[in-house]
Each structure stands twice: as structure tokens, then as C-alpha cells.
């Protein structure tokens, strides 16, 4: 084998390795939180920027959503059943465990939160 062949071989191997790694490697909790109010997209927030958003619909329905690194929770809600608050933290890790675990929904107030992990299967 000549030196040039080795260079070509090496380059192809490197490209293949990089591509394989890029495709297989988990995205380390990167992704978004998408908030919907009455099924309409209201906000799209990056998961790497901790923040709190308040959705006050002006009719007494108020939801406070906390985004933290790698996850999201319903901080508070004015709804009567509090199921959304009781659900607690939804993280990329917990969502990867099973289907449908990446949603927090407050049915009475019409607010839903979707966690979209970049490495979702």
C-alpha cells in the first residue's frame, strides 16, 4: 500500500468514525420546552436557559412554569385538581424512560407543556 492509499483510508475511517459518533452520541439534555395554551403554541424555550414564565389568561387562570437545566415543572397553577403541579419535574432523563412522559398538562386551565429532547428516539 502506498502512502496516499493510507491517507485516503485514514480519512474515510475518520469521517465514518466522526459521523457514527455524531449520530449515536446523546445530546446531553439539549432540547426545548414548548408551551401551548389551548392547543396553540405560546412559547418555545431552550432547555439550557433556566427561567420562569407566567401565563395569566386574565380570567383567573394563572400557570407558572419553571424551566431548569435539562427539565421543566409546573411551579404553580390556579386549577382545582393540581394534577399538573403534583406531577413534579419532567426531565430529559425521566422522559426517555417511557412514552408520553414528556408532557405536563393542566386540563382545567388549558395549558400544556411539551419537553422535546434533541435525542428523542
Amino acid at each position: 500500500m502506498k502512502r496516499n492509499d493510507l491517507i485516503i483510508l485514514g480519512a474515510v475511517l475518520a469521517v465514518a468514525a466522526i459521523l457514527l459518533f455524531a449520530l449515536r452520541a446523546p445530546a446531553n439534555g439539549a432540547g426545548w420546552v414548548i408551551v401551548y395554551v389551548h392547543d396553540v403554541e405560546y412559547a418555545r424555550l431552550p432547555l439550557d436557559t433556566p427561567q420562569t414564565i407566567t401565563i395569566d389568561q386574565g380570567d383567573g387562570k394563572v400557570n407558572v412554569i419553571a424551566v431548569f437545566e435539562g427539565g421543566v415543572r409546573m411551579q404553580s397553577s390556579t386549577c382545582e385538581n393540581q394534577l399538573c403541579v403534583l406531577q413534579g419535574d419532567v426531565t430529559c432523563e425521566s422522559a426517555a424512560h417511557a412514552e408520553l412522559e414528556n408532557w405536563i398538562v393542566c386540563l382545567p386551565n388549558g395549558v400544556s407543556i411539551e419537553l422535546v429532547a434533541e435525542d428523542a428516539p
Binding site: M1, K2, N4, D5, L6, I8, L9, V12, L13, V15, A16, L19, L20, L23, Y36, H38, D39, E80, L83, L86, Q87, G88, H97, A98, E99, L100, E101, N102, W103, V105, L107, G110, S112, E114, A120, P121
Partner: protein, 359 residues
């Protein structure tokens, strides 16, 4: 000019490559795009949506499609199917231009009422299920369930005044729940209620039946990988795009943050019945919405039961039936009907039938 020159350079270099190395390079070059495709499944993207306006619950649709346009089209079709079934199976409101279950309850005791094929199919299924579950699920139980529904709504709206339905009223209503008084004519697609005080309520089967219809329609439209969740009635079409089964958490009634179990599902449905979702409180005791046809009171045999079955309507029906039975009797019924189940008993112990926890 530039491009042509580069191509020529490449050709010139190729000549210097030894055959073995050339073959290896070719194999590797082929492997790169194959890694991208990941066995042809990676091209399918995951799309999700929730709808809060259907069946008075949360509806989640999860599907794989090749493009956003294709996903949107599939989602829209599923939504419009579900919206149609929601309207048809509604016992509380009439809808413009549709003969729905409320219309049937209001008028089918006067004369037979012609209904849409899906509603007719649901009612036929309801009669069949009443037999299969030995009466534990009875769509003719509407008069009793309405008393509980009204008491619950009033109790939630005004907790101070919350009260149970009158015992005498419950017993009077229970006298009008004979499934044989629901008379279906398959030739004319009509329903007739031979007992004027009988009311239909498909709460125990409607969502599961609708989910199965919507899934079947989606399959016919070419969808191969779909998970449809109608407020806990989970209907799976196929598997995930990577070929693995869908993994579904079964909630622990005592801890909303914890999972009781994770079940794997492909081409099957999973439904949980428990007393912890729809309930109200009277004098410090909570009363849920699943009513035992024998006692006319909320069933209190098990904490929760989850069933899986290839048919979503049957999964829905049997989860209610098993919740309405003591564990041993429920187990016998499940075994006789090919139903897989997991019970959480009143003492907190977990019992599995033909199912395995994945962890």
C-alpha cells in the same frame, strides 16, 4: 470550470490507488450513508401533539412520519376522526347536524332512531361487552350514572354542600338498566329503547372504542407507527420507528410522581381504571366515578387495575369490569377472556397476570 478541474484531479489520483485499498475505501464510503439511515428507520421523525378539546380529557398523539407535512396531515385526520366520535358518543350535549347519543337518550324511547354507523357499532359492541363482562360493564346504566355524575359535579362546584345521591333515587334508577331493552336493528341501523326511563352511558367503553377506530383509520391511511392516548386509554399501532415496543408508565395511585410499572406495548392497548382521577369528597370521604352495578356505590375491591389487550375497546371495557370485581373473580374473568392485567390490591400488593414488568 472550477468543478471540472477538481473532477479531473480526483480521476488522476484514483489511478494511484491500489485495488485492495480502493475496495476498502469503497466499502467504508458505503458504510457512511448507511450509518445515516440506520437501517432505513432514522429517516422517520417523531411528532407529537396534545389536544385539550376532545372527550373532556387530554388527548396525546405521537407518531413517526417522514416529513412535517406528512405528520401534520396524519395528525389532522386523527383529530377530525376523534372530534367526530366525541360528538357522536356525547351524552351531555347535542351537536348540530348529528344524531348523537344524547339525541338517542332523548328520543329513542318514542320510536327507533337511525344513527351513524360508528354509533351503531359502538352500541352493538356495548351489548356484546355486557355479556362478556357478565354485566360488570353495562351501557344501559345511564340513569344510575347520571345521579352520581350530577352529585359529583355539584359537590366539586360547592364542596360545602357535597352530598351523595339519594339511596331511593339510585334504586329507582337501577330498575331501568336492562340491556335487553336496548334494541338494535342492524338492517336499518336504528336504536330503540324499550324502557322509556333507560339511559345509555358509554363512559366505560367510548374512549377505547374511539381510539381503536381512529388507529384503524390511521393504519388504513398508511401510518405505521402511532401512539394515541385518550386520557389514559393508550392505543399503540405498530412499534416505535426503531422497532422497539412503546414503553408506557403505569401510574402509582399513591404517588403521582412515581411509576408502578413500565409496560411494553406494540399493536395493543393499555387502560387503567382507578378511583383516583375523577372523584369528589363528602364528609371527608372521597367517592370516585366507577359505580359497582350491584351496590350502586363506587367500587371498592381494588386500588387500581391496568389491562392490556389487542383491542382498545375491550381493554377499556375490561379495565372497568376488573375494577368492579374482587380480585379473584376479576382474575378468573380476565383469564377466560385473554386479558392481561396488573392489579394494585387494597393492601398495596401488586399482582401480575400474563404481564411482566420491564424493570
Amino acid at each position: 470550470m472550477e468543478v471540472g478541474k477538481r473532477a479531473m484531479d480526483f480521476k488522476l489520483r484514483q489511478k494511484c490507488v491500489q485495488p485492495v485499498a480502493y475496495t476498502l475505501a469503497l466499502i467504508l464510503l458505503c458504510a457512511v450513508p448507511l450509518a445515516f439511515l440506520g437501517g432505513c428507520t432514522q429517516r422517520l421523525q417523531r411528532y407529537e401533539a396534545t389536544y385539550l378539546s376532545l372527550f373532556d380529557t387530554v388527548v396525546t398523539v405521537l407518531l413517526y412520519a417522514e416529513s412535517e407535512a406528512e405528520a401534520q396531515q396524519a395528525m389532522d385526520a386523527i383529530y377530525s376522526d376523534l372530534a367526530r366520535y366525541d360528538a357522536l358518543f356525547d351524552i351531555y350535549e347535542t351537536h348540530d347536524g348529528v344524531v348523537n347519543l344524547k339525541t338517542v337518550n332523548d328520543s329513542a324511547w318514542k320510536q327507533p332512531v337511525a344513527v351513524e354507523p360508528e354509533l351503531f357499532a359502538l352500541l352493538s359492541f356495548g351489548k356484546e361487552v355486557c355479556g362478556l363482562t357478565e354485566g360488570r360493564v353495562n351501557i344501559a346504566f345511564g340513569s344510575v350514572l347520571t345521579l352520581w355524575h350530577d352529585a359529583r359535579e355539584a359537590g366539586i362546584a360547592d364542596p360545602e354542600q357535597a352530598a351523595l345521591p339519594e339511596r331511593s333515587a339510585l334504586e329507582k334508577a337501577a330498575a331501568h338498566t336492562n340491556i335487553d331493552d336496548v334494541i338494535l336493528d342492524a338492517e336499518a341501523n336504528t336504536v330503540y329503547l324499550a324502557d322509556p326511563a333507560l339511559q345509555l352511558d358509554v363512559g366505560a367503553i367510548g374512549k377505547g372504542f374511539a381510539a381503536q377506530l381512529a388507529c384503524d383509520n390511521a393504519r388504513a391511511r398508511g401510518v405505521t407507527s402511532l401512539l394515541l392516548n385518550l386520557g389514559g386509554n393508550v392505543c399503540a399501532l405498530g412499534t416505535r420507528a426503531d422497532g422497539n415496543p412503546w414503553r408506557i408508565h403505569v401510574q402509582d395511585p399513591d404517588d403521582p410522581e412515581a411509576a408502578l410499572a413500565t409496560l411494553e406495548l406494540s399493536d395493543a392497548s393499555l387502560v387503567t381504571s382507578g378511583g383516583y382521577q375523577r372523584y369528589y369528597t363528602v364528609d371527608g370521604f372521597s367517592y370516585h366515578h366507577i359505580i359497582d352495578p350491584d351496590t350502586l356505590m363506587p367500587a371498592n375491591y381494588v386500588k387500581a387495575v391496568t389491562v392490556t389487550h389487542p383491542d382498545s375497546g375491550l381493554a377499556d371495557a375490561f379495565s372497568t369490569a376488573l375494577f368492579n370485581l374482587p380480585y379473584e373473580e376479576g382474575r378468573a374473568l380476565a383469564e377466560a377472556n385473554g386479558v392481561s392485567a396488573v392489579w394494585e390490591l387494597l393492601d398495596g400488593s401488586i399482582v401480575w397476570l400474563r404481564l411482566d414488568p420491564t424493570e
